[in-house]
Symmetry: C2
Subunit: 206 residues, 2 copies
DNA sequence: TAATTGTTCAACCGTTTAGTTAAAACATAT
DNA sequence: ATATGTTTTAACTAAACGGTTGAACAATTA
C-alpha cells in the first residue's frame, strides 16, 4: 500500500499542508501550492496526482503524525492521570509545532468529514480509543468517577483546538481595544495545556 | 447603519447560511445560492451586493442570533450555576436548530477569523463576557474555585461544537464497523448538554 | 556512448467562476 | 396614467482554475 514517497513529493505535501490549513480545500489553489513548493505544476501532477489525492496525502500526514505522537506518549505513561496529562500535553504541543493539524481538523468537522479517507477515520478512532481506554482504567481503579469518555474527549480536543485557532482573533480584539488586554488570555503552549489538564482532572476525578 | 432588509434579501441570506455552512466560503457558489433561494442571480446582486457582502450578512445573522439567544438566557437565570446551565443548554440547542452556527464558526476559527467583520467580533466578545462575568460571580460567592474563565469558555464551546459537527463522522464510523456502536455516542441535544454541564460544573465547583 | 527511463518545465486548454449588462416584465403607489 | 422600485431573462466578460501536453533535461543502464 504505502509506496515510499520521493523527496519532491514530501516537499509538496509539506507545503500543501500549510496552504490547505490556511485556505481550506477550495481556497487552496494548485498553482499556489506548486509555486510555494518551488516546483512546476506539472511536477506536482506527476508526483502526486490530482488535487484530491494531494489533500488525502496531507490529511494522512498531518492527522497521522499528531495522533501517533499522542498515542505513543499515552502508552509511555503509567497511571491514568499521567496518561491524561500526556494526552493533553502532547496533543497541545504536537498540533501546534510547525504542523497544521488544528485548522485542517476543524475544517473537516465543519464539512462533516465528507472527504475524510478511511485511513484518517482510523487515526481518529485510535485517538478516541486511547483516551477511552485510559478513562475506563481510571474508573476501574476508582480514581475517576463514571463519566462518558466521548464527552471528555470532545472537551479536551475542543478546548485545545479552539484555544489555538482562536489566538489571532484574541489578538485582533486586543489590538482594537487595548483596555481589555488580559495576560491570562495569552498563555504559552505548556501553560495552556496545564490549565486544560487541571480542569479536566477536576471534572473526572472521583 | 443597519438599514432594514427586504423579504427577498432575508430569504437569500437564510439560504446562503445553509450553503456557506455546508461548503465554506470558497466552496459556496453564487449561482448555487441564487438557484436554491429561487431568485435570479441578478436579483441577488441587486439586493445584496457581492459575495463577500453576502457572507458578512450571513455571519452577522448566524452568530448574532445564536449569541443573543445565549446571552438572553443567561441574563434570565438567577444563580451562577443556573446561568452556566442556561449558557450550555441554549448554546447547544440554538446552534443546532435549523441554523448553521457550528460549521461556520469552526471554519472562521480555522482561517484565523481573517474575514470576520467587527460586528461578529463584538458578538463573540459578548459571549465570552457573559460567561466570564458568571464565573467571576460564582468565584466571589465561593461556589466556584478560581479558574481561568477563558479556558472554561473554550471547553464549553469546543465540546458543543465538536460533538455536533462530529456526528456524521461517528455515524460513518459505526456504519463501517457496526460492532463498535455505542448508544452513549449518540445522545440527543438535551442529553448531551446535560453531560457537558455535569463535566463543567465538576471542573469548576469549589 | 547510445538508448532507456524517470523527472521537470513552459505553454497551453477547456471549464468554471464572480460579476455585469440591457431590455423587458411585474408590482405598487401616487 | 405615470413614475418608481423590483425581478427575470439571457447573454456576456474577464479572470482564475484544474489539469494536460510535448519537449527538454537528468540519471541509469547497456
Amino acid at each position: 500500500m504505502g509506496r515510499e514517497k520521493s523527496a519532491t513529493a514530501e516537499k509538496i505535501i509539506k507545503i500543501a499542508s500549510e496552504i490547505f490549513a490556511e485556505q481550506g480545500y477550495n481556497g487552496a489553489k494548485v498553482d499556489a501550492i506548486a509555486k510555494r513548493a518551488k516546483v512546476n505544476k506539472a511536477t506536482l501532477y506527476y508526483q502526486i496526482g490530482d488535487k484530491a489525492t494531494l489533500y488525502s496525502a496531507v490529511l494522512d500526514r498531518v492527522l497521522g503524525q499528531t495522533i501517533n505522537d499522542v498515542c505513543h506518549a499515552v502508552k509511555g505513561a503509567g497511571d491514568p492521570e499521567s496518561k491524561i496529562k500526556a494526552f493533553i500535553h502532547t496533543l497541545s504541543v504536537s498540533s501546534q509545532a510547525a504542523n497544521f493539524t488544528a485548522p485542517i481538523f476543524l475544517r473537516e468537522l465543519a464539512s462533516g468529514g465528507k472527504t475524510l479517507p478511511d485511513s484518517a477515520l482510523q487515526h481518529m478512532g485510535k485517538l478516541l480509543g486511547a483516551l477511552t481506554e485510559t478513562i475506563q482504567q481510571g474508573i476501574d481503579e476508582g480514581i475517576f468517577r463514571k463519566v462518558n469518555p466521548l464527552f471528555v474527549h470532545m472537551m479536551i480536543l475542543g478546548s485545545i483546538l479552539l484555544y489555538q485557532t482562536n489566538e489571532p482573533i484574541r489578538r485582533r480584539n486586543v489590538a482594537k481595544n487595548p483596555e481589555i488586554y488580559n495576560p491570562d488570555h495569552f498563555l504559552k503552549n505548556e501553560e495552556s495545556a496545564e490549565q486544560i489538564l487541571d480542569l479536566i482532572l477536576s471534572a473526572i476525578r472521583a
